[in-house]
């Protein structure tokens, strides 16, 4: 028996010319929580996928419990007691929690004794302090309940090493606290846990040690008690970074957008936005908080003319002071009315950009109609591409390189660059920094602040409450499609927002 649950030695993984993992060695002891920290594209997920049998390492060794092993498939990983909780859950909606947990389990008998199994699972649940109703169907569950099912499933299968890939991205602060409690109980019980997260304060609060990757290379491992947010960031980025977001005081604010009693039914026939009213001011950043899927997408799309609904969306032209109704118009009609509105949608390649085209093809998405000729005007978009590439430091082999092949951060820069290029009056962004590295994220915050200073009304839908609290002037909280509160971001607390995010609009 070894005190190390798992040991990686000299692991390398290449994808074509790209080195995803370069000579990585790390160890997780039994009864320890290790945080794996690194920016996007640093190779964390690739490394974990090799542990869970999805990829096979090009070089290096994996030792489980002191013995060298070969993990060729997820089945091998299960057998070795390695369980991975992915960001996207792999559960069957119409089954209950218990049925999902025993699904795919190899047993001696062909007959499933659901009662006996349920009793076993209940024991597990009590042992670690989960909160889970085993008879509840998955489709009735919240995200955090589904996550619990995934974790219990792995434990029930005998996992001794749990890997959690950004488990808190979809949770409220309260749910995160509860998850951490459970993880601590598991640690007491001798389980080894690897947690991947971007949130530094979580790293500090939950883990015993932190291993850091940067651009595929192993940078080092530190004891959490010796680390600070600043020191971790520097290891992660490789240089000093200022972690403060500016928040200039708004001045000369004026009404830009007024949404009144907006209700939208989405394509699944669900009331996604329910009687929402608010005002967005020019010269201020309005943050929108809420659990994923609380109506953020539909709300922004309704304003952009991509979603039908009832109620009213009034846009005030800052020059003339005239009000224009946006609801019921399509994007082209909105543009023809002279409303300059910029929208950075959540699904960048699926909605904002055309993946197979280069930068010029994407720059002309909103402007290609200009001019009477049947032929495309190519020069303007090319110039704009060069300008965006230079100003936002887009890393691309050439402007004609398909944007699909660019990294997430560069894709976002192309999109944001185009949207702010035609000096909008209203700028809406959905999860603008999702998947971006720290430097790019701060570059985006900076761009948003610039727009705010220019008098643009900025609507920022975000998931990281710390950022929302630092960047926004006001925060609107959505819960189940309803507005559960609008707070002053300078005085609000994370806990208050967290409560509003789950308060299922009894009032209002």
């Amino acid at each position: 028996m070894s005190e190390n649950a798992i040991e990686l030695k000299g692991i390398c993984k290449y994808f074509g010319k790209v080195t995803a993992n370069d000579n990585i060695s790390l160890t997780v002891k039994k009864g320890e929580i290790l945080s794996l920290l690194g920016e996007n594209g640093s190779g964390k997920t690739t490394l974990m996928n090799m542990l869970s049998g999805i990829y096979f390492p090009d070089k290096g060794q994996i030792l489980v419990d002191g013995e060298e092993v070969t993990i060729r498939s997820p089945k091998d990983a299960y057998r070795l007691g390695i369980g991975m909780i992915h960001q996207h859950f792999k559960l069957i909606d119409i089954f209950t929690a218990a049925e999902n947990i025993i699904l795919g389990q190899e047993g001696q008998s062909q007959i499933i004794n659901l009662k006996a199994v349920t009793a076993d699972i209940e024991k597990l649940i009590h042992r670690y302090g989960f909160q889970l109703d085993l008879n509840k169907k998955i489709y009735d569950m919240s995200v955090s309940e589904k996550q619990t099912v995934e974790i219990v499933k792995m434990l029930y299968r005998g996992a001794n090493l749990l890997i959690l890939d950004e488990p808190t991205a979809v949770l409220t602060p309260q749910e995160t606290e509860h998850l951490f409690g459970v993880l601590r109980n598991m640690k007491q019980d001798g389980k080894a846990i690897i947690i991947i997260t971007h949130k530094l304060h979580e790293v500090l609060s939950i883990s015993d040690r932190v291993s850091i990757l940067r651009k595929g290379a192993y940078i080092g491992t530190v004891e959490t008690k010796d680390a600070t947010e600043q020191s971790l960031t520097e290891m992660m980025v490789g240089e000093k970074v200022s972690l403060n977001i500016d928040r200039p005081t708004p001045h000369n604010t004026r009404k830009c957008l007024e949404v009144k009693h907006l209700t939208c039914i989405n394509k699944y026939g669900v009331k996604a936005v329910d009687n929402v009213s608010f005002t967005a001011l020019g010269g201020e950043i309005l943050g929108i908080a809420g659990i994923a899927g609380s109506g953020q997408k539909e709300l922004l799309e309704a304003i952009a003319g991509l979603q039908e609904g009832d109620g009213s969306i009034l846009f005030t032209d800052p020059a003339t002071g005239e009000e224009e109704e946006l609801l019921g118009k399509d994007p082209l009609e909105i543009k023809k009315m002279g409303v300059s509105l910029a929208f950075v949608p959540e699904d960048r390649l699926g909605m904002g950009l055309v993946g197979d085209m280069g930068m010029p093809g994407n720059m002309m998405i909103r402007s290609y109609r200009n001019g009477k000729s049947a032929l495309l005007e190519q020069r303007g978009p090319r110039q704009l591409s060069e300008k965006v590439k230079e100003e936002l430091e887009v890393v691309t082999p050439s402007i004609s390189y398909p944007v699909r092949r660019l990294s997430g951060g560069n894709v976002q820069k192309v999109l944001v660059g185009r949207e702010i290029s035609n000096s909008p009056k209203l700028l809406m962004t959905a999860y603008a920094v999702r998947g971006l590295d720290i430097n790019t994220s701060y570059a985006i915050y900076h761009l948003l602040n610039e727009q705010k200073e220019k008098g643009v009304a900025v609507v920022y839908v975000g998931e990281d409450l710390d950022v929302l609290l630092e960047l926004s002037d006001r925060i609107l909280v959505l819960c189940g499609g309803r507005v559960s509160g609008i707070l002053d971001a300078r005085t609000a607390t994370k806990e208050a927002i967290g409560l509003l995010m789950t308060k299922h609009g009894e009032e209002n």
Binding site: T70, D330, G350
Partner: protein, 374 residues
């Protein structure tokens, strides 16, 4: 360090991020050579004929004489124009597998004009009318599934396929209505004596010889250039590309997706109708249920293999027709039956399509892990 107890995977498949032009051409040439070698083994084992001789007579069959060369060129142009026709639709990710039917209705319309107006109209007017009705017929045939797709989001693959059968039935109907001899069930050559409505085969005889299809070639090559410009440099072409990539992005850009679907399918159908005109007026001078001859389907292969580049389609169409015509020759010369030619073309296509895999992925055979750090 003890050797691992289990074997690592024998072969792993890794996606390439890019491939040089030279390499991708080399892979395709290797695929063609391999397929020829494979066919050679097959031919030898079945017929015991010398494969080299067989290939030589294939060459002979396709471009052995001036006449054969012109026939090969004529068939190439028909295949090429059909591929050009379906390309806008496929680029929009509208699976138009109804080119066959769109060609047939264009052919019927052309035949009708030739039959009823052939001997009573001035040539110029006659041709204008033939072209116009063939375009219109194809356009309608292409537009019907597009309307249903835009309106009720029906499945265009099934819809365009079904439309083929209607077109074939229509052709059967007219074959009997217009039959040359009672009870024969076929139309025979239209305007055999006057050749009214036939595209001339003796254009510029000093340059191209007394018998040529140079007019067909000129028309189709012009269309090729136009289609390239349309797809690459016009606003319409841009809209087609955006809709094909993502309807959501198209809506975001304010593109009227329904309008683009209708417009593009109208164009695609109309050019297919024009291919029908070229077939009836420019080569067969008759119409039957086999006039389209599967070109509507082969054209899909041409279009995709060329990655929607009209100029590359010229090469691919030529290659496929060359193989087809050559194979017909060996079928008769070596007393193989007609299907032998199809078998060979099929094998070659299979290899070419299979080689796509190697341009996108590369294989790594297990031999790693040895250098694990000690």
């Amino acid at each position: 360090m003890a050797a691992p107890k289990q074997k690592e995977p024998f072969v792993r498949i890794v996606k390439r991020d890019s491939i040089s032009l030279g390499k991708s051409v080399a892979i395709r040439i290797a695929a063609i050579l391999l397929s020829l070698a494979f066919c050679a083994v097959l031919i030898y084992s079945i017929t015991h004929s010398n494969p080299v001789q067989v290939y030589r007579s294939m060459m002979d069959g396709a471009i052995g004489t001036g006449r054969r060369t012109w026939n090969t060129l004529r068939d190439t142009m028909i295949l090429l124009v059909t591929a050009l026709a379906i390309t806008p639709a496929f680029k929009m990710r509208f699976w138009n597998i109804g080119a066959e039917g769109q060609i047939l209705v264009g052919g019927i319309a052309t035949a009708a004009v030739m039959r009823y107006c052939g001997n009573s109209m001035p040539t110029l007017l006659l041709f204008a009318l033939m072209i116009l009705v063939s375009l219109a017929a194809g356009l309608i045939w292409g537009l019907i599934p597009a309307i249903f797709k835009a309106r009720w989001n029906t499945n265009e693959t099934l819809f365009t396929l079904m439309m083929n059968y209607i077109a074939i039935q229509l052709t059967s109907f007219f074959s009997i209505a217009w039959e040359a001899k009672k009870g024969s069930g076929n139309i025979g050559t239209i305007n055999q004596k006057t050749q009214a409505g036939w595209i001339s085969t003796s254009f510029l005889p000093d340059i191209f010889g007394n018998f040529n299809y140079s007019i067909n070639v000129f028309i189709v090559l012009t269309l090729t250039v136009l289609m390239f410009i349309y797809l690459q440099y016009t606003k319409h072409g841009y809209e087609i590309a955006v809709v094909g990539q993502s309807e959501n992005t198209a809506r975001y850009a304010g593109i009227n997706v329904k309008k683009v679907i209708l417009r593009t399918m109208a164009l695609s159908g109309a050019i297919c109708g024009f291919a029908g005109f070229l077939l009836v007026s420019g080569s067969s001078h008759t119409i039957s249920t086999s006039t389209a001859g599967g070109r509507g389907f082969t054209a899909i292969i041409v279009s995709w293999l060329a990655k929607f580049n009209p100029f590359v389609m010229i090469l691919i169409s030529f290659f496929l027709v060359f193989m087809g015509n050559g194979a017909t020759q060996i079928a008769s010369e070596f007393q193989l039956n007609e299907s032998a030619s199809e078998v060979i073309t099929g094998i070659i296509l299979f290899f070419i399509l299979g080689s796509e895999f190697f341009t996108n992925y590369r294989l790594i055979f297990g031999k790693h892990r040895k250098e694990a750090n000690e």
